[in-house]
């Protein structure tokens, strides 16, 4: 095929320049992929010989035989906040507070991390680069690791959960906000600048109306994600219902664990649905 073009002195179209059957790059990639998978399976030495289906089946049955004791206070020392509904509510609020906290810090930082606002002056360009690198570093540390570290600092409980979640979220929200600012149409800003308005007026009049809806949308998306993450944080010392779930599993109380898992699923599904509805309205 390619010879048709070459013999006539024409450039060969990109699609026809390689023959898929004799393309060594393609075969090479395939060979490497297969080799990596082969080595991977060998190294992992996946062992299913100790699986115990009868025991597993018993656990599954217990998970479905819900023990409703955890729904109410069991003795004079327990209050509503020690019951599963109470801990669930605590966990949801943990996600909400963490989101609010990260929002406060991510919002101003996002403007400093937006290319179209910060380039044009060497000093601001340096700040831009610094803020974006900061976002990337903060974001790249997984929430669970952050919470483990914060649990060492603040001790087990809500403080570690809230601050850990908020810390991670500054990186995520900061990046999302910055990109929303970078995605705006520069035209209105140019027009408002031409009227003789100053920088603050331009941002307020031409930039804010364009980013308001994306910001609200991203915030709700992260709120949803945080409330979803919050129960897991209990496993690593972040407090809330996750901690209760962890304890019941450690004590083999699968009847309680099953009910807690069901409650978490219910909350996550509700959040998911509600957040999608709100964001659909905003777009």
């Amino acid at each position: 095929m390619a010879s048709y073009f070459r013999s006539r002195g024409l450039p060969v179209p990109r699609e026809l320049s390689r023959n898929p059957l004799t393309d060594w790059q393609r075969w090479g990639t395939l060979a490497v992929t297969i080799a990596v998978l082969y080595v991977g399976v060998k190294v992992l030495d996946i062992d299913v010989s100790r699986a115990n289906p009868q025991y597993a089946w018993g656990v599954v049955r217990k998970l479905l035989e819900w023990d409703f004791d955890i729904m109410t206070p069991q003795n004079e020392y327990e209050t509503f906040w020690d019951t599963s509904p109470g801990l669930m509510l605590t966990t949801i609020l943990l996600g909400v507070v963490a989101t609010a906290l990260s929002l406060l810090l991510a919002l101003p930082l996002a403007f400093l991390g937006a290319r179209n606002i910060m380039t044009g002056h060497p000093v601001t360009a340096v700040i831009y680069t610094f803020v974006r690198i900061l976002f990337t570093i903060v974001r790249s540390i997984d929430v669970l690791i952050v919470v483990i570290v914060f649990a060492i600092i603040f001790g087990l409980g809500s403080a570690a959960g809230v601050f850990g979640l908020a810390f991670h979220n500054i990186g995520v929200l900061g990046k999302l906000y910055s990109e929303a600012i970078e995605g705006i149409d520069p035209g209105p800003g140019e027009a408002i600048t031409a009227t003789g308005a100053n920088r603050v007026q331009v941002i307020w009049t031409a930039v804010l109306p364009q980013i308001f809806n994306p910001f609200v949308s991203f915030t709700i998306y992260r709120l949803d994600a945080n409330v979803r993450l919050a129960p897991v944080l209990g496993f690593v010392g972040g407090g809330g219902i996750g901690q209760q779930l962890f304890q019941t599993i450690q004590l083999f109380q699968y009847q309680k664990a099953g009910l807690i898992i069901f409650m978490i699923v219910l909350v996550v599904a509700t959040m998911d649905f509600a957040s999608a509805q709100v964001r659909k309205k905003l777009s």
Binding site: A194, T195, W204, F212
Partner: protein, 263 residues
């Protein structure tokens, strides 16, 4: 009478080495309707943007009523920009905001930051906004979102916004290039009106020579960042046309039909 706008040896070299303006010198008198023509990339947009310094010229000088625009900084530059209205090919309205808010924004150069931040325009500015909306015939759209309007209506919002500045000069960067022929004439008529009635100097880049002949009192052609022609619209004949647009170019007419209102 001395020139209102004097441009001396203006050069603009973009990063990457594109020489958009290569030594432009012009004098424009108050009340002229100057039409800029030339191929895409000939420097029309850059020239217009160098006048109000949305684009920073590399060298050369722009003077408005003997005030050096190119030397002005900060507050002085913003005071000069107040006197120069501008409309754009893509209208550049804040699409999510109302028509009213967009028009009001034209007044920002006269207002303090805190008034902007707390959304407290003066009564005078509100009156002025309604007055200008009335003038361009879209008073009934004042409360619509800007992106709900047709292209021609959006450009009229752009004109109303620029009129809020009470400008001495109006720059128009291909104001009708995104519009159909009928709508184009309706927009051009508003520019003609503010030129004739208010005595605002108009500098307008256009793609259609027929529009240039119909509305311009003076035509300046740019080619490769230099002035290739400067004279009366009627002086552009076949030979001149080929000089400006290249030998293969054929003139395309945009009908100067009897157009009333707009589509």
């Amino acid at each position: 009478m001395s020139a209102q706008l004097r441009i001396t040896d203006l050069i603009k070299v973009y990063r990457g080495g594109t020489r958009a303006l290569d030594g432009i010198s012009l004098e424009i008198t108050r009340g002229e309707f100057v039409v800029l023509i030339g191929l895409s990339g000939s420097g029309k947009s850059t020239l217009l943007r160098c006048i109000n310094r949305l684009v920073e010229p590399t060298s050369g000088r722009v003077e408005l009523d003997d005030i050096d625009v190119t030397a002005a900084g900060g507050g002085e530059l913003r005071r000069i920009r107040r006197r120069i209205g501008m409309i754009f090919q893509q209208f550049n309205l804040v699409r999510r905001s109302t028509v009213f808010a967009n028009v009001l924004a034209g007044r920002l150069g006269y207002r303090s930051v805190w008034r902007t931040l707390v959304f407290q325009p003066t009564h005078h500015d509100i009156d002025l906004a309604f007055e200008n909306l009335q003038r361009v015939g879209i008073l009934d759209k004042a409360y619509s979102r800007a992106d709900a309007l047709s292209g021609g209506q959006q450009q009229r919002v752009g004109i109303a916004r620029a009129l809020m500045q009470r400008p001495d000069v109006m720059l128009a960067d291909e104001p009708v290039a995104s519009l159909d022929p009928a709508t184009s004439h309706s927009v051009m008529k508003y520019l003609e009106e503010i030129n004739k009635k208010d005595g605002i100097t108009v500098i307008c880049s256009l793609h259609f020579l027929s529009l240039a002949r119909r509305y311009g009192t003076r035509v300046i052609a740019l080619k490769d960042g230099r002035v290739a022609f400067d004279g009366l619209p009627a002086e552009i004949d076949e030979a001149r046309f080929k000089e400006i647009y290249g030998l293969d170019a054929v003139e395309v007419e945009i009908g100067v039909a009897k157009v009333r209102g707009e589509a």
